[in-house]
């Protein structure tokens, strides 16, 4: 069966900078926004773009993510002729290999792609927070006759060296691409979202696989090589909220940007289209006790709030007991904050228990992560 476009989501990264949050799960499976996991954004964007075939490339601690992706029911991919499949590394006739880079992950699944026979392929990172549909980007790709179209956004010059930076001509044809340049000459950053004409990408991947010096990475190898070969490469400008939540600070900040006090025209609003789909747990409705105080918060069903909470994001099955005070924090599922405890500027990992009367990060500005396996004082 031929398809117009297939999406492949790179979701195998460890996300080392998220510390204990990614000790047992991959970064795209980390909880976000009280109800969601990071990968929900990417998969919802794909679903909202009417793309009906998606492969999720998993590797590091893939069990939770493979289970979560399952058959794609959460995002509606369980319909007729839809495909949603996790693609971890596998043993083949020629042996077993881990994915050696983002490009190699796609290369090792060329058989899957050949079976689906797409005209175009959309490559996405599974660890970014943003809402979009890819329809316009695909239309631009087709209209321009490009071999590759890269989603780009303007970033602060000072931040530019953290990204893959593109230089373009006056028609947005890409003239240069440098991965994380020390001295960026442009502020157009790659969002790690690419549309390729499949036949062109297929050849590039096969050639790259034969190169012993390649790191098999899109940013470092595939894109620069295609540019060097004078392939037509076009920038597609994205304007809106986009966040790489690769560090504890950025994850905390992105959660805080969901709160009413921090909302602006650009921030994510879940009740506005396109929708973000996430797992709807079989949780009770949330309960607010007779002495609770709640200001400027985002709180998911299943939470049980008896204490004071302000400027925070709370997941399902969280319990905040009487007398507890929680401020500027992100509480992941199953957290319990004991009576009269204080929690400030924290990310509390799943199932973390804060003891009665315990003070966590009180009066401090830096963000701290408390994991359920922390060493108790």
């Amino acid at each position: 069966m031929s398809r117009k476009i297939v999406a492949m989501i790179l979701a195998g990264g460890k996300g080392t900078r998220l510390e204990a949050l990614t000790k047992r799960i991959a970064k795209p499976a980390v909880y976000f926004g009280g109800k969601y996991r990071i990968i929900d954004f990417c998969l919802s964007n794909v679903a909202n773009s009417s793309i009906d075939c998606v492969g999720v490339l998993t590797q590091y601690e893939s069990v939770v993510l493979n289970h979560y992706v399952s058959n794609g029911e959460i995002w509606g991919f369980d319909g007729v002729d839809n495909v949603c499949v996790a693609l971890p590394p596998r043993q083949t006739e020629t042996g077993a290999n881990w994915y050696r880079g983002t490009a190699d992950a796609i290369y090792q699944n060329l058989d899957f792609l050949d079976d689906e026979d797409p005209e175009y392929i959309l490559i996405l990172s599974g660890d970014h927070i943003y809402k979009t549909t890819y329809d316009q980007m695909l239309a631009t790709h087709i209209k321009s006759g490009a071999d590759c179209t890269i989603d780009v956004m303007e970033v602060d010059r000072k931040e530019a060296s953290r990204f893959g930076i593109l230089e373009v001509d006056n028609k947005d044809n890409i003239t240069k691409f440098v991965e994380k340049p020390a001295e960026p000459k442009s502020n157009l950053a790659s969002m790690g979202v690419y549309i390729f004409t499949y036949k062109v990408l297929r050849k590039a991947l096969v050639d790259d696989a034969k190169d012993p010096n390649s790191e098999h990475d899109f940013g470092k190898n595939i894109i620069p090589t295609m540019l060097a070969q004078n392939k037509k490469m076009v920038a597609y400008r994205f304007s809106g909220y986009w966040k790489d939540v690769g560090t504890l600070t950025s994850l905390h900040q992105a959660n805080m940007e969901l709160l009413p006090s921090n909302r602006n025209a650009n921030t994510i609003k879940f009740n506005e289209a396109p929708a973000i789909y996430g797992e709807d747990t079989h949780s009770r409705p949330q309960y607010v006790g007779p002495k609770a105080v709640i200001k400027n918060c985002l709180i998911n069903q299943g939470a049980y709030i008896s204490g004071d909470i302000e400027d925070s994001v709370v997941s399902n099955e969280v319990e905040i007991k009487e007398g507890a005070k929680v401020t500027r924090s992100v509480l992941m599922p199953g957290v319990v904050v004991g009576k009269n405890a204080v929690v400030n500027n924290c990310i509390l990992g799943p199932n973390t228990a804060i003891k009665d009367g315990e003070k966590i990060n009180e009066g401090k500005d830096e963000i701290v992560l408390i994991d359920k396996e922390r060493e108790l004082e």
Binding site: G33, G34, K35, P260, S261, F270, N271, A275, I276, Y277, G278, D280, H282, S283, R284, P285, Q286, Y287, V288, G289, P290, K291, A292, V293, I294, K295, N296, C297, L298, I299, N300, Q301, G302, V313, V314, E317
Partner: protein, 374 residues
């Protein structure tokens, strides 16, 4: 579950919560913010691995189907399990004949398609959490072919307009009769109109009922059998039971869930899953001036005003300066800035926008029909 069970949810005998049930059957009336009454019954079955379920619909069955959505919401295995909604279409124009037994007679395939040792028949207006495995074992131990569940209580108000059972010394039913004023202050055994019946007898009942009266219901025939044919065993239910058979009780029992004790008994703890169809609603947004105490709140709500002792359904909006007290608000209700409402139940998509004060009382709550603009 060791024994194979066919569970029948009998909506023909459902209570009337007028005016709430004017527009939908009680079974799919909103309850506790995110559920319906049907969810409680079906989830009890799910937790006990009972996955052959037939729902006998009396009317508006489309709303039952809409709520159920996918079988996978309630069934552990959608291949080996069955969840069917049955309707007696030939009796729709002749309501007197639209009984549970006639429905079963019309759809008797459900009896032959589902192998099983026992049949459970239950209603949705009694809300309780029971362990069916234990109840079936108690039924088997009694060596009777029919058991009826009952709740011993002195709470006349809660169970007014229900039936009571006189239970003899060995636990058999002597008499079924309506609860009356003289029962106030006395200990009564309330019939929960929930039966466990041996499969072979149940098939006989369905056939036999036709030869006695074309208008008989399952409770009627059980009553008849207990008088003339065989003993009916009575099984006491020790768990907490709430009865929803009037609009006033709906309002008062709903608000009682906000108390930790009653809410804990009915909504349970983290491990007591209650399954329901989902709507992809986002978490609740509490604004910078929100003031909420004592509430059960479903996802999708946006709260900037003052809320006291309320149940808020999905996607309710309480604007800044609004005050909402002792209310049950169904999904998509909007209370605009500066409006004060209390002691009322608002059906879906009501907007309180101009009249600044809208109040009922705890004993006479107001009802606001769906879609109203106040």
């Amino acid at each position: 579950m060791e024994n194979k069970i066919l569970a029948i949810v009998d909506l023909h005998s459902d209570a009337n919560l007028d005016p709430l049930t004017d527009t939908r059957p009680l079974a799919v009336t909103t309850f506790a913010g995110r559920y319906t009454f049907l969810d409680f019954i079906l989830s009890n079955f799910t937790r006990n691995n009972i996955d052959d379920i037939a729902i006998l619909c009396k009317e508006q069955s489309g709303k039952i189907d809409k709520h159920i959505g996918r079988d996978s919401t309630y069934l552990k295995n959608t291949r080996t399990g069955n969840l069917k909604t049955l309707r007696n279409e030939s009796a729709l124009g002749n309501p007197q004949f639209n009984t549970d037994l006639n429905n079963l007679f019309e759809n008797d395939y459900i009896l032959y398609d589902n192998p099983g040792d026992f049949v459970i028949v239950c209603q949705t207006y009694f809300v309780m959490n029971v362990n069916w495995d234990e109840l079936i074992k108690t039924h088997i131990k009694s060596q009777r072919s029919i058991s009826v569940l009952y709740k011993p209580t002195e709470d006349y108000e809660q169970f007014s307009d229900c039936d009571k059972i006189t239970v003899d010394a060995i636990g058999d039913a002597q008499k079924f009769e309506h609860i009356n004023d003289r029962d106030q202050g006395k200990k009564i055994n309330v019939s929960l109109k929930t039966y466990i019946i041996n499969r072979t007898l149940f098939e006989e009942i369905v056939k036999k009922a036709k030869t006695i009266s074309s208008l008989y219901t399952i409770p009627d025939i059980v009553n008849y059998i207990s008088q003339y044919y065989q003993k009916v065993n009575c099984i006491e239910v020790s768990s907490f039971v709430l009865c929803f058979n009037s609009f006033k009780k709906y309002f008062q029992n709903s608000l009682s869930l906000i108390s930790k004790d009653i809410g804990g008994e009915i909504l349970g703890n983290k491990s007591l899953a209650i399954y329901t169809s989902t709507h992809n609603s986002r978490p609740v947004i509490y604004g910078e001036v929100s003031d909420v105490q004592g509430a059960i709140i479903a996802n999708g709500c946006t709260i900037n005003g003052k809320v006291r002792n309320c149940i808020l359904g999905r996607d309710v909006v309480i604007e800044e300066g609004a005050v909402v007290e002792n209310c049950v608000l169904f999904s998509h209700t909007v209370v605009k800035k500066g409006i004060h409402i209390s002691n009322l139940v608002s059906n879906k998509r009501v907007v309180f926008k101009t009249k600044t004060e809208v109040h009922g009382t705890y004993d006479e709550p107001l009802y606001i029909p769906g879609g109203s603009i106040i």
